[in-house]
Amino acid sequence: MSRLGFFLLFLSTACLGLYSCNQVGLGALTAAKNVITSPIDGISSLLSNRRYNEVEERTPSEARSVNSLSFNHVPKTSEVIRCEVQGPRPILERESDLESLMGATRSSACSCKAWGSCSQDVCECAKLCPNDFSLFKRAPFEQSTADLTSNDHSLSFRNADSMTLSSIEGTNGYCWGHASTTAQFNRLATFDPSETQMKSNLDAASGSPERSEALSYYKGVIDKVTNNKVSTIDGFANLNELSSHPDLESYIADKVAKAWASRAMSFQGLRTALGTGAMSQEKSSAFLEDVAKKIDNFQQPQIVFTAKGNAAQTHAVLVSHYERDESGLTLCLRDNNEPPTVNKLCLNRMFVDDDGGIHYSPWGKIGRAAIAHNDQADTLKHFDVLKEECDRLKGCK
């Protein structure tokens, strides 16, 4: 073998050594070739896209069964494991015995699923902390992504209700930041309302050490979540309650504005607003299917779209869930200009119309629609920190 050959082999090994599987390596080489042939605009999120696809491929298809709103979810028997120590069988004499037995069974059973209550002794880590997108099935996610769309799990302030009704021409506020920040809290924050001390301290006298400590604590946990870290937030029951507190509302609103700036002010954000012609049937359908695929992977993706013929009218939202019937696929948008209830009921609907373009129920026919350029990277960041947290909590490292 030539010197160059050895050199290339060495380097390939150096790079490949970082992978656990040849397929991944092949994917990287394919992607590397794409860099040469793609225009610069097309390669902008290449690394994130590639990694996203890897995680998606690992996600078992049977896990992706709760993609649309369902009120009748029954846990699979494989998700429930009875952990009680084996002993003599109880003798059932009265109805109350049966009730107490059921109670004891419920309390001793544990769930063997992502973030489940079982210990790793009875449930393998691959199920407790799966290395795929089923890791996003974490409270407040229960049955479907639509669970996240409720009032409790939404920011207390709408994007810009004032602006949509305003005499000033239709403006859409910090929609992109609103969507991103909401997704961060829904995925990364857990709330513990039983720990009330810190919240009470917010009412302590101005300048007191107690109040200063409480302010510092809450700003710290908000910073953590908005910097894509997992955090438990004491004293509040949910996102709505947290974001309506007078000491914190303004702080969170600032985070929304900053999140907006980092997305909308980028080159890709500025370019997004340019497509105003209706999309072709093929592109429209492909877009809806791409979004549905993300929802099947337990995500509420961020999408951006423009009004038809008006590049200035742009919006960015999360997609709550979808419905599929004989008429086709309909996306249910979590429009941050609308009350959460309206969104959860899928009254803000996006679908391909008879002409092949995309129709959004409050707007009519729209121009260009796309998954936000930051969505893959945001999803991966959240996936990574959640995996780390799950492994830590369940002792799976």
Binding site: L47, D161, P246, A261, L380
Partner: protein, 270 residues
């Protein structure tokens, strides 16, 4: 050979995202990658166009992951290698938006010294939109009441705040619509409340629903609301509130400052 090395170079860049299947990108990963590239002098054998493209890929990714300093560094390397026939608008726009997130003053300097001139000579079809956007961002002027799209609230916020700081209260008030402020955040509700109080409004302030919910909160926003309502502040005086806002929430100082301009005849000293 160049092609092989380029593929290898990009391959190593790509491996950055997969160094750890779990942890994702971190600063040690970036350093490790840089060492790898330097050790094997991969970048030396690439053409300018290849370097330009490869560094741009990495810079964009670093930007998405929030590594602003590193992102700027790679955008800079990409820009140094830009081929003559390539338009620099994307790289320059990206650098400007990263700088804006990192340091507004540095961003303004970059905009004035480099961006404007280079962007003006760009052949990109999106040139005028991008130039117009950044011109508005760095302008001190107040714009016409036409605030649209992603950028509407941003410019409106800037305008209302600037107008209040300039004490042009009636114009600022005309930018806000009371019909839909109920679900806006506390800052926007207070903006309207303060402006309408200056204009003579005596009751029905939007902040009161929050004050009712949190009657004991000593927050600056709730004290502003108390002042409008004419009830006892949690601090000694309006002067003290001004100092408190300046120290703790300087971005809200303009709201407290405006309280001093409420006409005396309608002001009730709390």
């Amino acid at each position: 050979m160049f092609r092989s090395k380029f593929i290898l170079f990009i391959y190593c860049l790509l491996s950055l995202g997969s160094f750890q299947q779990v942890r994702g990108m971190s600063k040690p990963d970036i350093e490790e990658l840089e060492q790898l590239i330097e050790k094997h002098q991969l970048a030396l054998s690439l053409t300018r166009a290849q370097k330009y493209r490869a560094y741009a890929v990495l810079a964009r990714e670093l930007e998405l992951y929030g590594y602003l300093e590193e992102s700027l560094s790679y955008y800079g390397r990409s820009l140094k290698n830009i081929p003559r026939d390539q338009d620099s608008l994307e790289i320059l726009s990206s650098m400007l938006s990263v700088l804006y997130r990192k340091d507004r003053e540095e961003a303004l300097k970059f905009y004035q010294q480099k961006f404007k001139k280079a962007a003006t000579s760009s052949t990109s079809p999106v040139k005028s939109k991008i130039l117009d956007f950044w011109k508005k961002v760095f302008s001190k002027k107040v714009f016409k009441p036409s605030h649209v799209g992603f950028y509407g609230q941003f410019f409106k916020d800037q305008d209302v705040k600037t107008l209040m700081q300039q004490k042009k209260y009636s114009v600022a008030l005309s930018f806000l619509d009371p019909k839909a402020l109920k679900s806006a955040d506390i800052n926007h509700r207070l903006e309207y409340d303060v402006l309408s109080k200056i204009a003579g409004k005596k009751s029905g302030f939007f902040c009161l629903s929050t004050l009712k919910k949190y009657p004991n909160s000593p927050s600056v926003t709730m004290d502003i609301c108390r002042y409008l309502k004419g009830i006892q502040l949690k601090v000694e005086s309006l002067e003290t509130l001004k100092k408190k806002a300046a120290a703790q929430l300087p971005h809200l100082s303009y709201l407290v400052d405006a309280l001093f301009d409420i006409p005396v005849e309608q002001e009730k000293k709390p």
